[in-house]
Symmetry: D2
Subunit: 341 residues, 4 copies
């Protein structure tokens, strides 16, 4: 249902013109004349009104405003699946009582480093390993990732540690190769509204970790999830990773309130990436703890054995020992809110 | 120490002109010619260079950029007092191991309601009671507070419960009456850069709860604390309460990463106000938990016995029972990070 | 008129409870049951519903959302005075066909400099002279202004040039002295929601130049104007001076679209301050031209005879010759849109 | 050249460790000990230091901060081509004295409407026609464009009017078909950091219209241009189209100060899209005028013969008559700043 607010002084003819327009779409108009304004309640299946039609109604003569009451996403809404979605990946159930931690380097740099990191994060309690083979970099002169070679190392790390693999898809043309190696396909923040890429993973059977865009509202983020789900893939994990604000003391502003907000609006699991959220390794631990306390279903944390030599994001990576300590410190917090990690 | 970067092609004469300017301020210039740029390291007590002088150096012919290396605040910096400030208010030590909770209604509405709320929050474990007698309202047609009458009720609530009182100062002309009743003087977000008000509380001996401005950077916030401290009052408590961003799902975006950032930069205690941060009562509990996990020294939470009838901020107020449950739920989280509440 | 949207599954009893609440405020409920939602159109004088009451209705059981249809400001709205406000200050009519330019230094530094600048801006075509005697500075260690001495110099500059004086009020306790010297009282960006200050100038008979707050929405800005007007002073000039965004290439982001937006919403004159908007002197001229093209009623521009020695804002000040050239360049643009300067 | 600022108390050994690291990259260290801090000026070709290396230096023991002095983009910088780039497209020279206007519907909806619009905008003085065949839509349920059919209509419109065609590329897999029909390839705001797409158009010989991302800094935007140019395509046109801020009165906040800022930083032509910048048709004309006054090299404006029936962005489209009037009104403004339109 939509509500149309008329300007003061709207004529009867203008009103009739609007009503006719609505009726031409199979809708009914419930006119309500107040002392200061007349409003029209639009009755019928307004989900048939596209955003475009809504937009054009707003410029019809006599219309002051159009207010949409129903949310523009359906499959992603909590109402669609009140109990919450759980996703089982090789025995790891995401969205349940257990909080999952995805850990690993920003980029896969070489075989030895990756195997070493994977072993360490497994020992510390991570349940997934991550690493980028295709890297979105702000500079064309920066390291762009190893490509399929990196994916092969990830597969080997999975074989050795038993940890399923999370890696990013940047280009629809890489879909085939990514599907071959990944257990969860990550869509990065800069691609949250790369709609073709969303449709591509929507056609896949692999779970998708959908990062929030730097300046995406929660509503737009859920619409991006809806894109994926509209193609049949309902295994979407949302991942808060910081939004862009005026504050420069941190790389981004981690919006932890997005966690409880999403828990109300959607049935999808919600992760938090404190590493990108703050951009500095010594701020990662307190924000990881805060994320768990706020109700996140999982974390994604950058870990590197030698951050000083990392080819990407060394500044925000934890060393294995710091990661181990963090995992230990998270346990009583998880337990305090009735969960495990 | 400051660094002056010169444009490519700067002449020797321009360079001499800049050096002379620095020397006229009692500073020395350490010139360093690189392959691509020449830079000047400014040696001497650059704290004597005001922001204005820095700004004007930046427009001298040949200057590309001036980079300030030292922080503009001194008294508020962690280096000034590495161990952290503790503030003892009638036996309640803020900034120590114990996490303090300030609770109460947004505005003092009448005697009965306030006494009732004060009693309830005391029972639940709050250690301070709050309530506004002078209210900053966005509309001139809204309830503006009871004035001194409200302060008297707060004093009575303190007498009955033993809880010290936190209340807001909006106008330097109210300083005398506020000092008579308050144990902590609150400076609201909209007044964070009301510099006259800052100087006024700087001259007071009462601790000050300094809320972050809606669009204040952490650096500006610390400069506001410096204003107060420059007058001799070093008992400043910083309070994160959400910043303004593009997201509209919450009233503001609660920037919890400010907590660990401030812990590095300053020795002052850091509180969090989740009620204003999110603006909706059902999001307050998860964000209060997250704030504690992130390392906050205290919380400030709006509680009302009958939010549906509140004259201000009913939407974001907890009922006494919800507050009681929250206080109980915070205990194991505080304990998980080695603190008590 | 307000609209209340009910949650799906709201009971008849909850509905009756809401209707009763409305009726207790002297309002009527027009219930409209759609296929997906039930909405209540609130009929009667909803201006009697304060924001607080609206807020508490939103937490009543069964309520999903409350949408306000009428604007919260009245006196400031275009509907209140469709023809636009003009303000006559010693023969200079603001809000008419002629575009006015207020020029001068950021701060009054000494008598000689001010007289010199005033003379130069008068020659170039400025119609008002500005200068701060009380300065809001982010650092307590910066120059804070000359106080009444500065005001006296401004009065002398007015006497010598005939230009009326614009100067800033920071503290209600300075009201008396400011009124004695100023022709227009400026409320700075950081005080846009210093509500006590707004009420103070609302009681004055002097025109007020109300700068937009760094993170103020246009609606909040108009509410600040409403504060002033609610006390009887309807001579308010709005001044856009840049908002805070993520972009750091400019000091602020000058929101020129605020000009045509305000022209629709309010009858008050709209000025633009490109100097603070961009913060760099060489960007001032293009943005001044753009402001005129966008429909601004006036400009406020910082001019200094020797920016390299200015005690405040030297970086963004024009030299008299650059200002003179700008004034000349603005003429054909003003003329292109049917105005003069 | 980079500058490394050391923490107070950094040991000689730490200093040696940092110097060794720099020397291992073929760089020299110029150490400068001040009274408060020691800084290292890094001498040599620091363009060989990638952002990663810079980032990891910042976490070496003893390092407080690393400041980059040189801009991260080279090909896009004004220094690379001081005279400014001009692009000749079928005789239309972009970046010269003449201001160009690209006009047309948001999406190509059908043949008749497009031909009609193209004819009208040609008559009014537009020099390019635009229209989307592949549309990025926030909802998967919205109209997604006609695909190649739409491109064919655009080609037909070009044939009939002589106007070269501007259309958007969303997916690298569409590159071949887009190249066949487009004269300028548009990269939309949501794809400004779709790095694979940037490389793709970088390999093309077609000029590229690169829209600014919703939350992209000017520096990031120039880095996106650098991506394209690094592949050999130097014909990049930058297009400001509004950034995301807290203000909701307009769809975005049009950052017109980006125009003069870019004119200093880069040699590339700068366009402005007021239609997306404000999102409301009646605000387009004043902002188009302001853009020209601010120094834009061109405009891109949405025009539709029947906005009420448009399938996309009807709300912000001008009708042909309004567009015609705007083109007429722009002439004297262009002339006032020494240009033509």
């Amino acid at each position: 249902m939509d509500i149309i607010v008329l300007k003061p002084g709207t004529t009867e003819e203008q009103l009739r013109h609007i009503i006719k327009k609505l009726e031409s779409k199979g809708l009914q108009a419930n006119v309500s004349k107040g002392t200061e304004r007349t409003i029209i309640g639009v009755i019928g299946d307004t989900s048939k009104i596209t955003e475009e039609e809504e937009s054009v109604i707003s410029i019809m003569p006599g219309v002051e405003d159009v207010m949409r009451i129903l949310k523009p996403y359906k499959l992603a809404s909590r109402e669609f699946r009140p109990d919450g979605t759980t996703i089982n990946i090789k025995g790891n159930v995401i969205g349940g009582k257990k909080i999952h931690v995805i850990a690993g380097p920003c980029a896969v740099e070489n075989r030895t480093i990756l195997m070493n990191i994977a072993k360490k994060v497994k020992e510390a309690g991570a349940t997934f390993v991550r690493g980028g083979a295709f890297k979105p970099r702000t500079s064309p002169y920066s390291f762009q990732g190893l490509g399929e070679e990196g994916l092969k190392y990830l597969a080997e790390a999975r074989e050795k540690t038993g940890l399923p693999v999370v890696t990013e898809l940047m280009d629809p043309r890489d879909m085939e190769v990514i599907q071959k190696y990944a257990d969860i396909i990550q869509i990065g923040a800069r691609n949250m509204q790369n709609f073709r890429l969303l449709l591509e993973v929507g056609n896949s059977s692999k779970p998708v970790l959908l990062k929030r865009g730097l300046s995406a509202t929660i509503k737009e983020w859920l619409m991006a999830a809806e894109y994926i789900m509209s193609r049949g893939n309902h295994h979407v994990i949302l991942c808060e990773r910081g939004i862009r604000t005026f504050e420069t003391a941190t790389r981004n502003t981690l919006d932890l309130s997005a966690v409880p907000v999403l828990k109300k609006l959607t049935h999808l699991p919600v992760f938090v990436d404190p590493s990108h959220g703050v951009g500095k390794w010594d701020l990662v631990a307190p924000m990881a703890k805060a994320a768990v306390a706020a109700g996140a279903d999982g974390l994604i944390i950058e870990v590197h054995t030698n951050p000083e030599e990392a080819l990407s994001d060394g500044e925000q990576s934890l060393k294995p020992n710091d990661f181990k300590k963090l995992m230990k410190d998270l346990k009583p917090i998880a337990s305090a809110i009735g969960r495990s990690i």
